[in-house]
């Protein structure tokens, strides 16, 4: 059993007057075998939280337990976790093999056993050909796999990933994402995965935690967050292109996703429809779909339509909004 629980965790940097609270009384339960993704904007405390679980950062208050052990005062190596760093942090003066086996050698594991485990990891990650190379002689994707290998051979209770894919180009990122997902299905280990990329979060996560300024905004499955955001921040953060927000009467804000708006001619039967006129500003064809940006009473409105749109820029068009999909947010940003 390797569930991870954070209860009433807080973290401040600095002392006295200069102290800043980065994590504020945070509670979180990560189930055994779960792949939990922490997302949020830069500086919201994701890395700090992950480093606290790893034991690389002291906690200012609260308890962290892994399995049934409270690990507050344990050294990183005693927590049986593995950490994959954003820049991989492969030891530059060691070969791939030495990098992967370093932790096992430090633990004085039997040499034959080390060899076996390293070989197994190398096979899964297709690193066999590269074992004698130095990290500088590897491509970004290969380094990434070595970093995963180093984490895997430890056979940890929990994997901690801190933006492991952010140094890769878009294509490689997509394929590595898939590989991580496969690895998770195969190893069935608890994973806490940090990213600021909502797309990565959506595709990987069993559950997503959205963090802002050190506070949890919402926890839920990707689709829950997408369809039922708790507040305007979550609604804006999840989904690309972003949800449209239109200022309504009495200070409320109306939120509607770009795919829930239709051109009048091609709208399906809707139980609750709202019609409006808007002027097309820009049309961005993406191949399978087209993004249209409209001007509606001075506010921008993005609409996603399938295939190619034949509307001319500057034309006034009638739009149909799926009223069932609309969310309303109060002045404080909370759902109402």
């Amino acid at each position: 059993m390797s569930k991870v629980s954070l209860s009433n965790i807080s973290k401040s940097f600095g002392q006295g007057k200069k102290s800043v609270e980065v994590i504020k009384n945070l509670d979180l339960e990560i189930a055994d075998k779960e792949l939990l993704v922490l997302v949020g904007p830069s500086g919201c405390g994701k890395s700090t939280l992950l480093r606290m679980v790893a034991g690389l950062e002291d906690i200012s208050g609260g308890d962290i337990s892994i399995g049934d052990r409270v690990v507050n005062n344990l050294e990183p190596r005693e927590r049986n976790i593995a950490f994959v760093f954003q820049n991989y942090a492969l030891y530059p003066h060691m070969s791939v093999e030495k990098n992967i086996s370093f932790g096992l050698r430090a633990a004085k594991m039997d040499k034959a056993l080390i060899k076996e485990k390293v070989a197994a990891a190398a096979e899964i990650l297709e690193l066999e050909e590269l074992m004698d190379r130095k990290p500088a002689e590897l491509s970004g994707g290969q380094r990434q796999r070595v970093a995963m290998g180093r984490a895997m051979v430890r056979e940890p209770d929990v994997f901690l990933f801190d933006e492991p894919l952010s140094n890769l180009d878009a294509k490689l990122r997509a394929s590595m994402r898939l590989e991580i997902k496969r690895l998770h299905e195969r190893l069935k280990t608890t994973i806490i995965y940090v990213t600021h990329d909502q797309m990565e979060a959506m595709t990987l996560a069993d559950r997503i935690v959205i963090l802002k300024d050190g506070e949890i905004q919402q926890i839920g499955s990707p689709m829950e967050l997408y369809q039922n955001p708790a507040n305007q921040f979550v609604a804006g953060f999840i989904g690309s292109p972003e949800m449209n927000f239109l200022a309504g009467e009495d200070g409320k804000t109306m939120g509607i996703r770009p795919e829930d708006i239709y051109l009048a001619g091609s709208a399906p039967e809707l139980s609750e429809a709202k019609r409006m006129n808007a002027t097309l500003q820009v049309s961005e064809p993406l191949g399978a779909e087209t993004l249209l940006t409209f001007d509606f009473e001075g506010q921008g409105l993005t609409v996603k339509v399938p295939g190619v749109a034949t509307v001319e820029a500057g034309a006034e068009v009638e739009l149909v909004i799926d009223g069932g999909k609309v969310c309303f947010f109060g002045m404080d940003g909370e759902r109402c």
Partner: protein
Amino acid sequence: MKQIAPKKIVIWTLLFIGAVIMMTPIIFMFSASFKFNDEIYELALISSEPTLSNYIYLFGNTEFLMWFTNSIFVALLTTLCVLFFDSLVGYTLCKFRFRGRKIIFIAILSTLMIPTEMLVIPWYILARDLGLLDSYIGLIFPGIMTGFGVFLMKQFFESVPDDYLDAARIDGISEFEIFTKIAIPMVTPALSALAIFTFLGNWTAFLWPLIVTSSAELYTIPVGLSSFSGEFQSEWEMIMTGAAVASLPTLLIFLILQRYIIRGVILGGLKE
């Protein structure tokens, strides 16, 4: 013929003049070491009767070999100590947050501004009170840590990302092993530059060894050579011969480690 840029001509001329100025004393040193005493004040580079007798005398009748061994021993041991302590202190100041860190660093830095001439008196008193006068430990102790080295190493450790150290913490080695197995291998260029500077500095050190030693068995080469210069007469040919032999290890180091020295000078000069 290819045109040579005027700028290049100027540079080469300046370099040539510089080289002549630097090389002349060295050439005369070697030249004098092959002369008899009565010819020593003559400018001729090649003696009318060149001789090896100075070298034979130096190794046969003086304690030069002992001074040579002393110099090697002192310079090597000091260098090893400097490498160890300076990198350890530099690493600690760079990678750990603790109360008083800045003040300690400034205090260490400020020692760079105090010239050796001012330090020898406190050193002497210290050595005298601890009974270290005229001993190897007395010779070595002032040099086992240097402000410059601490500064150099600290600046270099700044370029080692903390993630490497964190990765090693998770891999489960001790803090000291993180220092020796992970951090040190990442700063080897700085270490080799520091080693060269320290070795050469100690090889040529004169003032402190002169003050702290009184028996000839403990002299280092510079002190030993100076003993050839007496009250009434200086045996220049012997001094030159000793200096010529003493310069060989230095030349050797320069030839072998040229690359590192140049890199070290650049680093020492530009790294702020």
